[in-house]
Amino acid sequence: MNMALAAIYSLFIINKSGGLIYYKDYGSAGRMDTNDSLRLASLWHSMHAISQQLSPTHGCTGIDLLQAHNFDLHCFQSLTGTKFFVVCETGAPNMEILLKVIYELYTDFVLKNPFYEMEMPIRCELFDLNLSQVIQKDRVALLGR
């Protein structure tokens, strides 16, 4: 798969109840301990839900993109309510594609893993392995520019 994607700072995966099931930091200065990451994940889950209530038109599915001064946050919610969000550089392209790729890896290596309990934290080696390959490809593409 040929992807020229920018590097990301961190990845969060939240289950449908808002609990954090996966957190990986890829070298940001703002690396967090477990408790903080848990709190932020729940906070994001709530805010994602509240943003749907404030929509002026019907059919809102929540925040896709949050743009801040120092970073961008892209979010993808699957049909089952699992949310994947990445913190990346401002203006980083193709993050939606990256999120879809991560979702595919999740379905292949986490959901199809017979020992994985639904909604529990993800501890699947193959998932970690393939994920770091995908993100590593990003960094190579970035350095190659």
Partner: protein, 181 residues
């Protein structure tokens, strides 16, 4: 171009009914759909809507929810900021300008553009999701606020905004907000 007669249009106090919608066929040119202005204490100084087919909650609840969402989002962005190592704890009240703040978020049905002035005045503009960066528009609205509201000797800070000139210039300005395709 004036769509509302100046004397009949009043801006909205939180418990009053919303401003009358623009006549059919004129609202679609202006991409701006809803505008909120809050002060630092959470009082909604202004609520204007130009195009809002869905109202999930009544006006007071809606404004409280909006303010609460922004407050939480600011704490969230300050804490999740990947470029700063030393951050306060989540939930600590933040001063305007403290910590990394966001300027917009987008959903599939709307885009929310946000600006906070150093004095804590929060401007929220809700537009079509494919609108471009509205930071300049928000700065312009803030300038209008300073000119026609703050400098109005009859205006009491912290009270809902009822200044005709402000509303008029706001409508004129937001008529030009377009969808970027």
């Amino acid at each position: 171009m004036q769509f509302f007669s100046g004397s009949s249009l009043t801006s909205v106090a939180p418990e009053a009914t919303p401003a009358p919608a623009a006549p059919p066929g004129t609202a679609t040119g202006a991409n701006a759909q809803v505008l909120y202005v809050f002060n630092r204490n959470g009082v909604c100084l202004l609520y204007r809507e130009w195009h809002r087919p869905l109202r999930t909650l009544d006006a007071t609840q809606d404004q409280k929810l909006m303010f609460g969402l922004l407050y939480s989002l600011r704490s969230f962005t300050a804490k999740i900021d990947p470029t700063t190592a030393e951050k306060g704890n989540l939930g600590v009240p933040l001063l305007p300008g403290q910590g990394c703040s966001f300027y917009s978020f987008k959903t599939n049905t709307y885009k929310l553009n946000f600006m906070e002035s150093p004095s804590g005045i929060k401007l929220i503009l809700i537009t079509h999701p494919r609108t471009g960066d509205q930071r300049d528009s928000l700065k312009h609205i803030y300038n209008l606020y300073v000119e026609y509201v703050v400098k109005n000797p009859l205006y009491a800070p912290g009270a809902p905004i009822k200044c005709e000139l402000f509303n008029k210039h706001l409508d004129q300005m937001l008529w030009n907000v377009c969808v970027d395709t």
